[in-house]
């Protein structure tokens, strides 16, 4: 096992981990602020992928330009979901909320199946096949772009939450719900905004990963479990936690696959997860939203 291979594997794991992290950020925000466990997060990713795919196919644009369509459409869908489906159960017991979001999973998967059939679809534009060489490692250009875009997105989100009024309102509602109410903040409008943002944060990575993953109605679910592990590992409600948790999982799986028989590679993720949660039960970056 040469050092070159280990390094290649490490870099690959880092890049994909960044994307996992961004997917996790959307979920952790929704949980941190709305206190809702959203099982449908992976399905919003899937929708983002499909919207991006068809935009690329019919408009001849690249996935990054397609974000101009994906973002507003998914934001609208997110807000609609919140108003029609989530709001009624926002104060209900958690098992009701779980049932609801699970129902959303089934509905979205089957709508996708109806609209676009169960066939696997992949992008095959020239961009998809471009390889760059950095430091002796071959990497897909689109993987690098996805990673950098993920970092940028995280940074923009951080600025949004720290500096803008809307961002501060969101943080206020998370940290101190009743106090925010007393201060005159319209709680439900904040929730709409948050769910919309969370949905968009699931959909954007969808467009970013489209060049290297195929899309089908059921692709979301395979991400969901992993995303839950990441947000617990990183600390529920913590944005840096989600990003770093994602990177840990990405690298863990990648290196794990090198040293352990392939089938067991996920044990690395789970062992890391158990170890971290045993040492810090509230995850790497603390219990409540601390932004």
């Amino acid at each position: 096992m040469s050092i070159d291979i280990i390094f290649e594997s490490l870099v690959g794991g880092l890049l994909i981990g960044g994307v996992y992290g961004v997917i996790a950020i959307g979920l952790t925000i929704i949980f941190g602020i709305l206190k809702i466990v959203n099982f449908a997060h992976g399905e919003f990713l899937m929708l983002g992928m499909y919207i991006s795919y068809y935009s690329c196919l019919y408009l001849g644009i690249d996935p990054y330009t397609s974000l101009l369509i994906v973002i507003p459409v998914m934001f609208a869908i997110g807000i609609l979901c919140e108003i029609l489906l989530i709001e009624p159960v926002i104060n209900a017991p958690q098992d009701i909320q779980i049932l609801l979001t699970f129902g959303i999973v089934l509905v979205l998967q089957n709508i996708a199946l109806l609209l676009w059939t169960g066939d696997w679809r992949s992008l095959t534009t020239p961009l998809v096949f471009q390889i760059t060489h950095i430091g002796g490692i071959s990497l897909k250009l689109t993987t690098i772009i996805a990673f950098l875009a993920s970092l940028l997105l995280t940074f923009l989100l951080f600025l949004f939450l720290k500096k803008t009024d809307y961002g501060k309102a969101i943080r206020a509602c998370s940290d101190e719900r009743e106090g925010a109410l007393f201060a005159g903040l319209k709680l439900n409008k904040v929730f709409y905004l948050t769910f919309g943002i969370g949905t968009v944060l699931a959909a954007i990575p969808g467009a970013l990963i489209l060049p290297f993953f195929s899309v089908s109605p059921f692709v979301g679910f395979s991400f969901t479990l992993q995303t839950f592990i990441i947000i617990v590992l990183g600390g529920l409600g913590s944005i840096p936690g989600a990003l770093i948790g994602g990177i840990i999982v990405g690298i863990g799986e990648s290196l794990g696959a090198l040293f352990i028989p392939g089938t067991l590679k996920q044990t690395v993720t789970f062992i890391l997860f158990i170890a971290i949660v045993c040492l810090r039960p509230s995850g790497l970056f603390g219990a409540k939203l601390r932004e």
């Binding site: 096992m1 040469s2 291979i5 290649e8 594997s9 690959g12 794991g13 994909i16 089957n110 199946l113 059939t117 169960g118 066939d119 696997w120 679809r121 992949s122 095959t124 020239p126 998809v128 096949f129 390889i131 071959s138 990497l139 897909k140 993987t143 290297f212 993953f213 195929s214 089908s216 109605p217 059921f218 692709v219 395979s222 991400f223 990405g250 799986e253 990648s254 290196l255 794990g256 696959a257 090198l258 028989p261 392939g262 089938t263 590679k265 996920q266």
Partner: protein
């Protein structure tokens, strides 16, 4: 007055209820001259695209059979299909089978796709003494239980390993090249594991050296580490077994890592799928693969039916639709021989079915007939290679349309993407 109306109403209701209870039981009444066939495939879930393709094969065949006069030995009886969706889940396959048998009262069954579903489904059929013809499920044990009502128009999974190793020998002989080392890359679900279990001893028995054995989790999002290991082992030939999504990912990763392999030999499902070929945009040039069927087979029946399938469903015929198209014809011939829907007679008739290569209804390069265990003994697959973006049939030689190219040129010399 009110009381009187109430009493009359109750009486009328009671009468209506009694009459309806005396009528036909649950399930639609059988039309006079009709054969009811239950068709169970995974129409939803992760392998939905294959399930739908399989179902379409049956539908297209039955439409043709009915249009051409139905089952003549039964006065032109038409076949009526009843569909079930097993979601690729064994317990659902069983309940769907029970439903079609007990409620819809089907005379025969066709299905399913995944072996994990066909295995219990055939059990349900056997218990209820319903003839069932299985298409694409390859698990050996399906025809090793001394069942009387199960018939499988496909080879056994363990034969695929045999086909592959024979092909590697054929490849070396035909091209005059030396092939000594093999790298095995396969997904780790039930099918992948049983393939590995069959092929590894065969590879070693034939004197090849297995320099890498790489099982990977089927839903892996990242194949880099596996391909890096394969690259380090540098085998003369890569023997791969994947489903569609991972097959696409592996090929793209091989390109990304500039892993040049002199030859890649794929096995079944993933590489057969048109979404694989379409999804890798030319990266599969020179890829060789085994599949149970190929649209490149130059039989007139294949050419005509492929066109018909494409015109009707706007997607090319694939091994699953082709197989299930033939399965429907197998059942139809059984009804012609039996002349009745009586299940025991149909079972006996299935043992007499013989559709030769090139005959109407046979889309494959082997004759459709069954031995005492319900297995098609001459079942064999097809080996093809992608040359200039087209599939060329390499084996069985009876259907060959070209010669194999091995070793493949390195990436730098190929059609660049």
């Amino acid at each position: 007055m009110k009381k009187r109306i109430g009493f009359v109403a109750m009486a009328v209701l009671g009468l209506a209820l009694t009459i309806s209870l005396c009528g036909p039981g649950p399930g639609p009444a059988r039309a006079a001259n009709e054969i009811k066939v239950g068709v169970i495939f995974p129409l939803t879930g992760p392998v939905a695209s294959i399930g739908v393709a399989s179902q379409r094969g049956v539908v297209m065949a039955v439409d043709r059979i009915n249009q051409e006069g139905g089952i003549k030995a039964m006065g032109g009886a038409k076949i009526k299909l009843f569909f079930g969706d097993d979601e690729a889940k064994p317990n659902v396959a069983m309940t769907e089978g029970e439903r079609l048998i007990k409620q819809e009262k089907v005379d025969a069954l066709v299905g399913s796709y995944t072996s994990s579903c066909s295995f219990p489904l055939t059990q349900v059929a056997e218990v209820n003494k319903i003839p069932i013809v299985v298409g694409s499920s390859a698990k050996d044990e399906i025809t090793e239980r001394k069942f009387k009502y199960t018939f499988r128009a496909e080879l056994k999974a363990s034969w695929i390993a045999r086909d592959q190793v024979n092909f590697i020998k054929f490849l070396a002989a035909k091209t005059g090249q030396s092939i000594k080392t093999i790298g095995l890359l396969h997904e780790d679900s039930g099918w992948g594991q049983s393939f590995a279990k069959d092929v590894v001893p065969l590879i070693q028995k034939e004197g090849f050296q297995l320099v890498a054995t790489l099982p990977y989790p089927k839903d892996s999002k990242d194949m880099r580490s596996f391909i890096l290991k394969l690259k380090a082992a540098n085998p003369d030939l890569v023997l791969q077994e994947s489903y569609t999504e991972d097959a696409i990912l592996v090929t793209k990763t091989m390109h990304e890592l500039q892993f040049y392999s002199k030859g890649i030999l794929g096995t079944g499902t993933g590489h057969s799928s048109p979404f694989y070929h379409g999804g890798v945009g030319g990266l599969d040039e020179y890829l060789m693969k085994w599949e149970s069927w190929s649209p490149a087979i130059l039989l007139q029946e294949v050419k005509d039916r492929s066109k018909e399938f494409f015109d009707r469903f706007k997607t090319p015929m694939d091994p699953f639709s082709a197989k299930c198209y033939t399965v429907a014809f197998i059942l139809a011939q059984a009804y012609e021989i039996a002349g009745t829907t009586d299940k025991e007679k149909v079972r006996d008739a299935l043992r007499k079915v013989h559709i030769k290569v090139g005959d109407k209804g046979n889309t494959h390069l082997f004759p459709m007939r069954f031995d005492g265990d319900g297995q098609a003994p001459e079942a064999v697959g097809v080996h093809t290679q992608v040359i200039k973006g087209q599939y060329v049939v390499l084996a069985p030689e009876i259907g060959a349309t070209g010669k194999p190219i091995y070793p493949a040129p390195p990436w730098s010399e190929r059609l660049k993407k």
